[in-house]
Amino acid sequence: MARIDIENIRKTFGGVVALHDVSLAIPDGAFVILVGPSGCGKTTLLRLLAGLEAASAGTIAIDGRDVTALPARERDVAMVFQNYALYPHMSVRRNMSFALELKKIPRAEIERRVDATADILGIGALLDRRPRQLSGGQRQRVALGRAIVREPAVFLFDEPLSNLDAKLRTSMRSELIKLHKRLNATIVYVTHDQVEAMTMGEIVVVMKDGVLLQSGAPLDIYRDPVNLFVAEFIGSPAMNFLKGNFDAGRGEAVVAEGRGRLRLDPALAGSLAEGRRVELIFGVRPEHLLAAPPPSGASAIDGLVEVVEPLGAETVVEMSLGTQSLTARLKGDLLPATGSVLTLHVEPKSVFVFDPADGARLRAV
C-alpha cells in the first residue's frame, strides 16, 4: 500500500536517453500496466522505481517520502525480473524465505508464509529443488513467489507471465488479480500482452522511445487515444489507418483513392473545416466496421476480400483497398468469399482523425 509520485524523471545512459521527463502519479493500491514497444524504457522505469538505477533528473516519492536517493533495500519494493534472477545456490524455499530471514522474521512465521504462497502458485512440490532443476514457467512462478511472500508496499513486475503456457497464464493472471485485491498493494506491471493490458490493470501507461504518451483507464485509452501510436498500440487487431482527404463541403472524408467515403461527426468536421485541414489520416477500429449500413450515415468502404478467418464467434476479414489494407471483425455468421468485393460501413462517431505530420489526434474543439 503506497502511492507513487514520479516527477519529471529523466534517465540517460551515456548518450542514450532512456526516459524523457516522465511524470506519473500512481494512487495508493493501484494496478498499473506499463506497455510500449521493445526498448521504450519500461524496464528502466521499473529499475528506477526499485532503486537499482539512479535517476539523471527528477524525483520519485513513495507515500510522500522522497526515495530518489534511497537504496533499493530501504524502499520496501519487490521486483520480478524479466529473467527471474533466482539465486542458483539456494533451494526454492530459501529463495522465497531469503528476504524474510534478512528482516529477522520468526521462523514459524516464515514457514507459514512460504507455504501459503507456494500453495497459491502451485509450487508446493518444488520447494526443495534448486532453480536449475525447474522449467522456465516454474522458475517464473518461483520468482513471483519470492516477491509475493514479502508482502511489500509496491510490486514491480517485468513481464512476469511471458514464459507460461496459455492455460497457466490465465490462471496466474487471476491469481495476481486476487492477490492485488487481498494485499491491496500498489503494482506496476510491464507486459506485451494486449489482454493483460486491457483486463488486469486500473491504469494503463503507454510509452514510446522513453516518452510517456498516455496514461488512464484501459477503456478510456481505447476509446480516446491521444495519438496515432497509442491508437494503434492499444486494441487487437490494431486500428486501421487510411490516408485520405477531408471534403469540408460535405463533412466527409474520401479515403483510399476514392474507394471509401467516411462521414465524420459534425462537431469534428466543423473544427477540421475551420483549421482548413485537407490531407489527413483516418482511423477505424476493426470492430467498428459494420456489414450493414447504420441508420445514421452514408459511410461506405469498398474492399477486395483477401483473407477470411472464421473464428466461430466472429469472422476476421482482411481486405485490400488499392495500396492500403483494412481489417474488420464481423459477426461470425458472415463469411464473405475470398476475392469478392465487400462494402463495409462505419458510424461517424467511430472515425478517428490524425495529423499525418506528427500523428497527433485531431478532435472537435
Partner: protein, 275 residues
C-alpha cells in the same frame, strides 16, 4: 564438459604408456628409495624395496629437524593462501563490479608484477623486509608469496565474478541486502568453485616456492623445499632422507590433484550459473 567422442587411436596407446613410464619412473624410484635401508640404496645391481622401513622418514623428520620445516611450510602455505585470497577476491570483485579509477591500467599493472623475473623483486623485498623486521618470520614469507600470487587471484576471481549475473545482486539488494551482504551471501558462494580452484593453485605455489623462502627466511622459519638441499652434506648425500622429504613434499600436490580433480574441472568450466 564434452570429451572427444573419438576412440583413442593406436598411436595414443603407444605414446601414453611410454610418456607415463618416463614421467613416473623417477618418482617411483624416489618412492622406493625413501623406504630402503641405506645399504640398499646404491646397491648394484639395483634392488626394489627388500625390507621396507620408515627409517628415512624418521631420520629426516626427527633427527634432521624437518618436522619444523614441514610445519613452517604448512603455516606459510595456509596463511599466504588466506592472505592472497582475501585481498585478491575483494580486488577481483571490485574490478568486476565497480568502476575502479584507471581500472584497466591498474588491472594490467597488477599483471606486470608477475612478468618480471622473481629475483628482481626478491632483493628489494629483502631490504624492505629487513627494515620492517619481517626477515626470518612466517609472516614475511607469507606476505611475499601472497604478493606474488595476488595476480592470479585477482585475475581469476574477476573472471569468475564476471560470470555471475549482476541481477542476482540486484535481486538481493531489493530483498534487503546491503552491498556487503549481497557479496557475502550471493556472489561469494556462487564463486566458491572458482575460489577453491584458485586456492589450490595459490597453496601449491607457496608450497613449492623456493627463491623467496630462501632469501627471506633462515633457520627456524625455513620451509621444506629450502631445506631439502641441506641434506646434501660434505660428508655425503643423505639419499634416503632426500627421497623421503621429496615424497612428503609432493603429497599435497598429489592429493589436491586427485581429490579435487572434479572441483578443479568445475572451477575451470565455471559459467553454468544461469537460472
Amino acid at each position: 564438459m564434452s570429451r572427444g567422442s573419438r576412440r583413442p587411436s593406436l598411436l595414443f596407446w603407444l605414446v601414453l604408456p611410454f610418456m607415463a613410464f618416463v614421467t613416473l619412473l623417477p618418482y617411483a624410484w624416489t618412492f622406493a628409495t625413501s623406504f630402503k635401508r641405506r645399504s640398499d640404496i646404491l646397491s648394484t645391481p639395483p634392488t626394489w624395496i627388500k625390507d621396507p622401513s620408515w627409517f628415512n622418514y624418521e631420520s629426516m623428520l626427527f633427527t634432521r629437524g624437518f618436522d619444523l620445516y614441514l610445519l613452517n611450510s604448512v603455516i606459510i602455505g595456509v596463511s599466504s593462501t588466506l592472505l592472497a585470497l582475501t585481498v585478491g577476491t575483494l580486488a577481483g570483485y571490485a574490478f568486476s563490479r565497480y568502476k575502479v579509477p584507471a581500472g584497466n591500467h591498474l588491472f594490467f599493472y597488477i599483471l606486470a608484477t608477475r612478468l618480471g623475473p622473481p629475483i628482481a623483486y626478491a632483493l628489494p623485498m629483502y631490504f624492505l623486509f629487513s627494515e620492517l623486521g619481517l626477515l626470518n618470520t612466517h609472516l614475511g614469507v607469507s606476505i611475499a608469496h601472497a604478493a606474488f600470487n595476488l595476480v592470479l587471484v585477482v585475475w581469476m576471481m574477476k573472471t569468475f565474478f564476471d560470470e555471475i549475473p549482476v541481477e542476482l545482486e540486484e535481486a538481493a539488494s531489493i530483498d534487503g541486502c546491503t552491498a556487503a551482504q549481497a557479496f557475502w551471501r550471493i556472489s561469494l558462494p556462487l564463486a566458491l568453485p572458482g575460489l577453491v580452484t584458485v586456492a589450490m593453485f595459490v597453496f601449491i605455489f607457496s608450497w613449492n616456492e623456493m627463491l623467496f623462502a630462501l632469501m627471506l627466511s633462515a633457520g627456524d622459519s625455513n620451509t621444506l623445499p629450502v631445506m631439502i638441499p641441506s641434506l646434501i652434506q660434505h660428508t655425503g648425500t643423505l639419499r634416503g632422507e632426500v627421497a623421503a622429504a621429496a615424497i612428503v613434499q609432493t603429497i599435497p600436490v598429489i592429493v589436491f590433484t586427485f581429490v579435487a580433480q572434479r572441483h578443479l574441472l568445475r572451477g575451470l568450466t565455471f559459467g553454468a550459473v544461469k537460472g
